[in-house]
Symmetry: C2
């Protein structure tokens, strides 16, 4: 592309480094900002710098937090003996939105993925193992993505914890509520038959 | 959504003001920035502020430019008597990419759209009329979108210029190169029959 201005070109280059945003979308966004009042762009730039420079993480669960210990970890209503292991803060938000989980979380900050160069040492696994060794935790609930990388991470953590007496569980995989069986893939349908639950459980309201 | 940090919430709110970006995408982008080095976000924020504060426009064609007169308007190779009227700078880039136009441009900065509150006084129409009245222009090529708003803008400008002896033309509408007739809409196909061109013209290479 042949931009008529160096400033535009630089801005488009920076914006198009964001995931899922190509140079055409970046140009559209930059031109949109030019049509808005100056404050619009300034507020955006400040908010981004601010979050990048000042973001902090909970010392206990590694979730993004404004304080040293996040609201969930510091709440007296949450069961600290049941810990849900998730990939990142979006998963915490998704599970919190269900209002079905009363335990606490442990945010790994990613999952083991050799293809992307992410190994166990890049994740918050050691601190999880330490928490488990300290005897604080009775149950770990794995809520990682149902992919090869997610399964590998589950397996790696379970191996590290095998000498401890901790209950390990995985969130249920199966047919989504509202889905028709004929459109479900074989593996999901197969697992949902193997892991069938007592009929009474299906009556519990979400 | 229940964000675990005020900083994240502010950043997501600002990013999701951009067109076509909802709060989920905004959160994904913000979390991506948190995983990158600080410079990544700083460079992005600086580039955006920089373009917003320092962008300038060509005094002649109103295209975005780093100098008072843009490269196209100041080039001796361009025909200043043929002026292509476009909506914004993206259209200039699109036409420049074809390498088929040797004239200059006039960027209106939008099109007449009463629904969006955009009237003729919000656009760079007066300066175009002045250029025409000065006798500098022999032909205007309308290259505005083929919509009601684009047609209205064409009509408005043509009315303002009706007492001047200036040739007005519109870029050809028709079947796109590579398209099959059966999938073309009736209006486009109908127009392409009415505005058919001599066979020899179709052999000219783009």
């Amino acid at each position: 592309m042949n931009y008529s201005s160096k400033l535009i070109e630089e801005a488009v280059n920076e914006v198009s480094k964001l995931p899922g945003i190509g140079s055409k979308t970046a140009l559209r966004l930059v031109l949109h900002m030019l049509k808005q009042p100056n404050e619009y762009t300034h507020n955006l730039a400040e908010a981004l710098k601010n979050v990048r420079d000042n973001v902090s993480f909970c010392n206990s669960c590694h979730n993004i937090s404004d304080s040293e210990i996040c609201e969930i970890c510091s709440s007296h209503k949450r069961d600290k003996t049941v810990v849900c292991v998730v990939e990142d803060t979006r998963d915490v938000m998704a599970i919190e939105n269900t209002s079905q989980f009363t335990g606490t979380y442990h945010v790994l900050g990613g999952i083991i993925s050799p293809m992307d160069g992410v190994g166990p040492q890049d994740l918050k696994i050691d601190s999880l193992v330490q928490k488990c060794q300290a005897g604080e935790i009775h149950e770990l609930v794995f809520a990682l993505p149902s992919t090869m990388e997610g399964d590998t991470t589950n397996f790696y953590i379970s191996k590290r914890l095998q000498e401890l007496n901790i209950k390990l569980s995985v969130i249920a995989r199966g047919i989504a509520v509202g889905d028709e069986l004929e459109y479900a893939d074989e593996i999901t349908l197969g697992r949902s038959i193997i892991n069938r639950v007592p009929y009474e459980n299906s009556l519990k309201q979400a």
